[in-house]
């Protein structure tokens, strides 16, 4: 009896002491459930794309209710993509254009942003406002004037024509200016005292301190250039210079679409974007100031 009464007393005592932990655990469970649901919602289309790419020729792509797990998974659709279109050529073109566009954008945006953030000159704010106001204009509005300029410069049907519109963007200048503004002025002043000029300060002091922003801008630019469809379509005629979005679009024929092939092509074309993101994502949450203190 004594043992029993002790036991009966111990249970509520144990439960009460464990309550905060249980509540915390349940809260975390709830949070993770919500986050997992949102993640599933976002990656759902990607999973369907992957499932379609892995389905064999005997399976119905559009069956209802949808079947996410292929009955006879196959990689043959990926191989067929390389047979159907010169995929490696398109890949090379995209890689070349993306590499140059990202490099130019980082260089020119950081060069343009530095004086807007740090130097004093007449009309600086007006210039900045004018610059960011161009972000409000949709590309469709700029497309025809931009194309006319590109044609007049002889850039149509060339890689340079694909790169130049991404070489310096208002968004990039804005992002870099905001990053430069967060750097303490004392660092710059110390550099002046050491005898560095503006170019040297920009290169040796400012740029190393905004590496996370540079990485962020690089990822945004890469994603934008890699997935751009409309501008390459407008400016490019030669199939040998097509980028991946144009090339993958060719898999969807006018007289019958093989969705397995389209899905496999789409999966192959987004792999580089995922790789770039994976290698640069750690910079996303890093602050410029954190690096400055370290430095």
């Amino acid at each position: 009896m004594k043992n029993n009464s002790n036991q009966s007393l111990a249970i509520p005592h144990f439960s009460l002491s464990a309550m905060p932990a249980i509540l915390g655990w349940m809260r975390r469970l709830g949070q993770y459930t919500v986050l997992a649901s949102i993640a599933l919602l976002f990656i759902g289309p990607f999973l369907w794309l992957l499932s379609t790419a892995l389905k064999s020729g005997s399976e119905n792509i559009f069956q209802y209710p949808p079947d996410l797990i292929p009955d006879e998974p196959t990689l043959s659709n990926f191989a067929r993509v390389f047979e159907a279109v010169p995929f490696l050529t398109y890949f090379f073109n995209s890689a070349l254009v993306a590499a140059l566009a990202v490099s130019c954008n980082l260089l020119f945006c950081s060069l343009a942003a530095y004086p807007l953030a740090r130097l004093k000159f007449a009309g600086k704010n007006a210039l900045f406002l004018l610059l960011i106001s161009t972000m409000m204009l949709p590309f469709q509005l700029l497309m025809i004037p931009l194309y006319t300029i590109a044609v007049n410069l002889g850039l149509n049907n060339s890689y340079l024509g694909l790169i130049v519109p991404h070489a310096c963007t208002a968004f990039g200048v804005f992002l870099m200016r905001q990053a430069f503004l967060t750097i303490p002025k004392q660092l710059e002043e110390s550099a002046y005292i050491e005898g560095l000029n503006h170019w040297q300060i920009w290169w040796h002091i400012m740029l190393p301190l905004v590496k996370p922003t540079l990485a962020t801008l690089a990822v945004f630019t890469f994603i934008g250039v890699w997935g751009d469809f409309l501008w390459p379509l407008i400016i490019m005629d030669e199939q040998a210079k097509f980028t991946l979005p144009l090339g993958v679009n060719k898999l969807a024929g006018t007289f019958g679409k093989d969705w397995r092939l389209v899905a496999a092509g789409a999966i192959l074309s987004i792999i580089p974007t995922l790789i770039v993101f994976v290698f640069t994502q750690r910079y996303f949450i890093s602050g410029a100031l954190k690096n400055a203190v370290k430095g």
């Binding site: 119905n60 559009f62 497309m143 025809i144 093989d258």
Partner: protein, 422 residues
């Protein structure tokens, strides 16, 4: 950043920039006249055929150099408009009739009758040739054609013990029967493209010849038909927002009993829904009120910006000639705009391994011979289509009555046609 790292990056940048700079298109040889020829997403399926045809033409005409550019279907209009704005329009473009007529509104296209011989013009289906006409001026040369046949999901009809519709008017009642028995939808008359206005004509609607005005009784009949389709459950709610691709998706998923589409869609169905392919029956397009069927034509047009319109039309006549079109049909399931091509073996001989397509082909050929392009080229076509669709949708949803819908639609339509003719 170290100097080594910097020089590595700089070297890479310079190397890439050099590649990008030197990989530019060489100018054409001086002794050749370049003719730029744009098609709508015919590559890669027609690469062999078109490259061979171009090589043959260049051999026959050594001073002509054809530059073939294949453009994505969905963005042809934007690319062409950009090219026109920059004065770099192609010499020949492959366009649908709606966009062709839009360009013709602005007198941006050459009249082929001023460049092509009467003997060449006589090659084409007369009704199809005449359909490419705005204000008495021909603006395009018909190339390949398509006509809708009926593709039925036999299993759904069997489950509902319903007959295949003989006329368009049968569809609402049969649709209700199928919906009640199987839960599946029957029909998907989409609002994209020109299907709505074509159905208006197939249901007996007419446009006044001079100014494309509507007759109230015709409009009321069309609106009532769409309302009955919607209220009977024959069409899914998504018909209000989705296009023809959704009809194909629903049919391939077994949720739609009737697909009215070109014979080439059988190929898509066999690729993407091979298990459904065995349950398919093909038939002619359900009879319309005026016993005709629509023919959809893809045109070749020559923009006025072309520096060599005569040479461009010479190539157009070559590529759309009966022999070339018959040859093209051996590569893709399309139909020619030249009746003489129909005597070629590809159209007279049947492939025993593909009975469904052969049936579809036979129905399509029969329809081509009696069909016509039902929708005349109209000024401000997009706006007219939009006002027709908007009021039809409101009547389908019973937001407004049939009478209100008819009155409003005609008022909106007339406002646009009046503005076009002022």
């Amino acid at each position: 950043m170290t100097a080594r790292y910097l020089s590595l990056l700089a070297s890479l940048f310079i190397a890439l920039a050099v590649i990008a700079f030197i990989a530019r298109t060489p100018p054409p040889a001086d002794d050749c006249t370049p003719i730029e020829f744009w098609t709508m997403q015919l590559s890669p399926v027609l690469d062999d055929y078109l490259n061979q045809a171009i090589a043959d033409y260049e051999q026959l005409n050594p001073h002509i150099k054809i530059k073939w550019v294949d453009v994505a279907w969905a963005d042809m209009e934007r690319k062409l408009l950009a090219a026109v704005a920059a004065n770099t329009a192609p010499d020949i473009a492959n366009l649908n009739p709606q966009f062709s007529s839009k360009l013709a509104e602005f007198a941006a296209l050459h009249n082929p009758e001023q460049f092509m011989a009467q003997t060449a013009i006589a090659n084409y289906f007369p009704k199809v040739w005449q359909a490419n006409q705005l204000h008495g001026q021909i603006f395009g040369v018909p190339w390949y054609l398509s006509t809708n046949i009926a593709i039925y999901n036999r299993a759904l009809f069997t489950a509902a013990n319903a007959p295949f519709p003989q006329t368009l008017a049968d569809i609402p009642a049969i649709g209700r029967q199928i919906k009640q028995a199987t839960g599946a939808y029957s029909f998907f008359p989409s609002f994209d493209g020109s299907e709505l206005l074509e159905n208006h004509v197939l249901l007996g609607g007419q446009f006044t010849p001079a100014d494309n005005r509507l007759h109230p009784a015709d409009v009321r009949r069309t609106l009532a038909y769409y309302r009955d389709l919607y209220q009977s459950g024959a069409v899914p709610p998504s018909v209000l927002i989705d296009g023809h691709q959704k009809a194909l998706d629903l049919f391939q998923s077994g949720q739609l009993a009737i697909l009215l589409s070109g014979a080439h869609m059988l190929h898509s169905i066999m690729l993407n829904a091979p298990k459904l392919a065995d349950q398919i029956t093909v038939g002619p397009h359900p009879k319309s009120a005026n016993d005709t069927v629509n023919i959809a034509a893809m045109n070749l047009v020559v923009p006025r910006q072309s520096d060599h319109p005569q040479k461009a039309f010479d190539f157009v006549a070559f590529i759309t000639s009966p022999a070339r079109q018959a040859e093209m049909a051996t590569h893709v399931p399309v139909f020619p705009s030249t009746p003489a091509s129909l005597n070629a073996p590809i159209f007279t001989n049947a492939d025993p391994d593909n009975p469904q397509y052969e049936q579809a082909k036979a129905y399509s050929i029969a329809q081509l011979k009696k069909g016509e392009v039902l929708l005349p080229p109209m000024q401000r076509y997009s706006k007219l289509n939009t006002v027709f669709a908007r009021q039809t949708q409101r009547v389908m949803l019973e937001e407004i009555s049939l009478t209100e819908g008819t009155t409003k639609l005609i008022a909106d339509w007339n406002k646009i046609t009046r503005a076009s003719h002022d």
